[in-house]
């Protein structure tokens, strides 16, 4: 029985449980004349949840465990002798899997049944050709051990999946029936089903934690390798970034951090005022129809692939800034610059600020506006002094999101700001960011186990810690200035 059929069966059982549970609750209540503790639907829900959730958990666990168990068993059947020189056991096992899959097809094609395979009435002396017929290409000829292992594998898998189907469906029916029997009018069905849901909610919020753990774990290991090869003091305090192919690279993070900070700052200087003004205009001034068109339109800005922005920076904004500002002001003649990338990135992240802030400002109750207008405040005064402070937590969240996007962006920086790591105050100079270098060092042509590549992980980890600090700060600020309305 395939997994999707098992899923369907469990879902069907759970749906059935819902209806039966509901009906039983209703009829019990009618019989005893007592009042149900919860709405009848909740009784249905408990049965449905009991029928479905543990069964699905079992299914998932089984799917993970079964291959491990069977592989271990099959592994034992394969002597070292059949493992080709330089090859790996795992490849032989995958051969086993392939053959096992192929056998099904062979049997089907020759209209044979299981028995034929076991009693050897099918001629498998030329297994390779047989399998080739059904589109399973194998490298060399198959040793008998492997073939036997494949048969066992096939058998075990079959048994395993049958057992799984039985176990899962039995569990589903069992728990469903148990929770069905448990229904009494005073059963706290709502609490049970809400408890279930609450644990789902908790489960969901742990994903964020798991993700963080995953990220840190996947960065830390290689970062340690990096710091074994490259002194940490140089990495953190050197002001030169200059990787070399032949070793002797200088990998100071400071110019990259500076570039990240500088470019993000400019992007936010563009996006925050414009985005907030847009949010204010749309939520407070604009007509409904303008708003309903302009808001999604502006959101498209966030969906335009960054390569378009990058080319826009490279071809239009860069030369423009160079010819009209940098050169006349004597500030250099670079067509890629921090300012170029910052401005263009700022445009890209406008919707992060504008749309989210707009929603939050829209949620501020009208009574607060009335209170302010009633005192003779103008609309702009009301907005600045009442609505913005009330919406502050949401707005800070939006700005943080925009900043995050700016920090993570690569294409615009590569094309707009260049690839040169520099510590400079001049906004018309080319600079680059940590993220760009993470990408370029990871996808470059250097050997993996060299500091030049591994530095990407250290960069990622440092940036992670850095933004963590900024976020703590932001949380502190929001807590301090938060204004809760009723």
């Amino acid at each position: 029985m395939s997994v999707s059929i098992i899923i369907l069966v469990v879902l069907a059982l759970s749906a059935l449980g819902y209806f039966l549970g509901r009906r039983r609750a209703l009829s019990l209540a009618a019989e005893s004349g007592g009042k149900l503790h919860s709405l009848p639907g909740y009784y249905g829900q408990t049965v449905a949840l009991f029928a479905a959730v543990p069964a699905f958990l079992l299914l998932i666990a089984w799917l993970f465990v079964q291959p491990v168990v069977i592989d271990a068993r099959v592994d034992g059947m394969i002597p070292d002798s059949v493992i080709p020189e330089g090859g790996a056991r795992s490849l032989v096992i995958s051969d086993v899997r392939r053959i096992a899959g192929g056998l099904d097809a062979v049997l089907a094609r020759n209209a044979l049944d299981e028995g034929a395979l076991i009693d050897g009435s099918v001629d498998f002396s030329t297994i390779r050709d047989r399998l080739a017929e059904v589109g399973i290409a194998l490298g060399n000829d198959v040793p008998t051990e492997v073939f036997e292992a494949a048969k066992v594998y096939r058998q075990d898998t079959k048994v395993g999946s049958t057992a799984m189907a039985i176990a899962v469906i039995a569990l589903s029916m069992g728990l469903g029936a148990w929770s069905f029997m448990r229904i009494r009018p005073d059963l706290r069905a709502r609490n049970i089903s809400e408890g279930f849901i609450k644990s789902l909610l908790i489960g969901s919020s742990t994903i964020a934690i798991l993700t963080t753990v995953g990220i840190v774990a996947s960065l830390v290991f290689e970062s340690i390798n990096f710091f074994r090869m490259y002194p940490a003091s140089e990495f953190f305090f050197s002001t030169v970034w200059n990787p070399q192919f032949r070793g002797g690279s200088e990998l100071g993070i400071l110019p990259l951090l500076w570039g990240t900070f500088y470019i993000s700052l400019i992007a936010l200087l563009v996006a925050v005022p414009i985005g907030l003004l847009i949010a204010i205009y749309l939520s407070e001034y604009a007509s409904k129809s303008l708003r309903s068109v302009a808001k999604p339109a502006i959101e498209v800005l966030a969906g335009i692939p960054t390569i378009v922005y990058g080319l826009f920076a490279l071809i239009t904004v860069g030369p423009f800034l160079r010819d009209w500002f940098a050169q006349p002001l004597g500030l250099g003649s670079s067509s890629s610059s921090v300012l170029t990338a910052g401005i263009v990135m700022g445009i890209m992240i406008i919707p992060f600020v504008s749309s989210l802030s707009d929603d939050i400002m829209n949620a501020v109750p009208q009574a607060l506006r009335d209170g302010s207008y009633g005192l003779g405040a103008t609309q702009s005064e009301t907005i600045k002094k009442v609505i913005l402070p009330a919406a502050l937590p949401g707005i800070v969240g939006a700005i943080l999101l925009a900043a995050s996007r700016a920090i993570g962006e690569t294409m615009i920086v590569v094309l707009g700001a260049g690839a040169a790591a520099k510590l400079d105050l001049n906004p018309f100079e080319a600079m680059t960011t940590v993220t760009v270098k993470i990408v370029s060092q990871l996808t470059g042509d250097t050997e993996f186990a060299s500091p030049e590549t591994l530095v990407a992980f250290a960069l990622g980890l440092t940036l992670f810690v850095f933004t963590l600090g900024l976020n703590v700060l932001a949380l502190y600020i929001v807590r301090k200035y938060r204004e809760q309305y009723e």
Partner: protein
């Protein structure tokens, strides 16, 4: 009944027109919320330096009419006002009129207390700040303190002016809103049931305040308490189903109303 009523309003119109001078004068005011006709052809004169009480059953349009006087209805998009309302002879719905300046002159206390999510101090200081009423911090402190005193809230909050205004009890919030309105010293104050959430002592204080303010200001107050209307107002207007049933001196209304409905309402025989 319809006939009876329109006859009545005609009488009143002529009557109102002969009375002079009036601070606020409304003629033929109609208010619609979308299709709903909430105020029907109301004419009224409100005298300066006096207290006018609006009474009438719930939902009859008192708040709606009150909000017309300082154009707070502008903020409800479905709301449409027709007719003519003048303050000091100037039409407030004239396109030249600046609602902001109007509202500075015509203050308002709302039916549902709506403190800003700011500190108590900031709630009161907000109006004086935007109108530039205090040049120094100490002036502002004075204004805030005196406004809170007038609203009878000072003693309860003087130690926690930095606490959020939303953390106050219902009655305290309402008094905070009164203090907020008083702090900008408007010429006209519109009060929509200012005492509904107040205990008798606080109510007495606010009534005292109204009494004081009357010397210099024009006050319109919506109230459900006949006693209160009788105590504080010089004139009383009775609304019913969007119509102004009658408006006259308070004494007259409470002793010898022209309209049967007023009589019934006052006697609690209504509905």
């Amino acid at each position: 009944m319809m006939n009876n009523m329109s006859a009545m309003t005609t009488t009143m119109k002529t009557k109102a027109a002969t009375m002079n001078p009036s601070k606020i004068s409304a003629r033929g005011v109609q208010v619609y919320y979308g299709d709903k006709h909430a105020i029907k052809d109301v004419d009224i004169e409100i005298h300066p330096r006096s207290v006018t009480a609006f009474i009438g059953p719930s939902g009859c349009g008192k708040s709606t009419f009150l909000r017309c006087i300082n154009r707070m209805n502008d903020t409800i998009s479905s709301c449409r006002v027709e007719g003519h309302i003048a303050i000091d002879g100037e039409d407030i719905y004239d396109p030249k009129v600046d609602p902001v300046q109007l509202r500075a002159k015509v203050g308002m206390v709302f039916q549902k207390p709506n403190p800003f999510p700011k500190s108590i101090y900031e709630n009161v200081a907000y109006g004086p700040r935007i109108h530039g009423l205090a040049s120094r911090k100490s002036d502002l402190d004075d204004i805030v303190a005196s406004a809170l005193q007038k609203a009878g809230l000072w003693n309860e909050v003087k130690d926690r002016l930095d606490a959020p205004g939303t953390g106050l009890s219902g009655g305290q919030q309402q008094r905070l809103c009164i203090a907020r309105a008083v702090a900008v010293s408007p010429e006209v104050i519109l009060m929509d049931e200012p005492c509904s959430a107040l205990d008798p002592i606080a109510t007495a204080k606010v009534e005292e305040l109204i009494h004081e303010l009357r010397e210099n200001f024009t006050i319109v107050i919506v109230t459900h308490s006949m006693q209160q209307a009788a105590r504080v107002s010089q004139r009383t207007a009775m609304f019913h189903l969007g119509n102004l049933v009658e408006v006259d001196d308070t004494d007259k209304i409470f002793t010898n109303p022209d309209d049967q409905r007023t009589q019934d309402y006052i006697m609690g025989r209504f509905g």
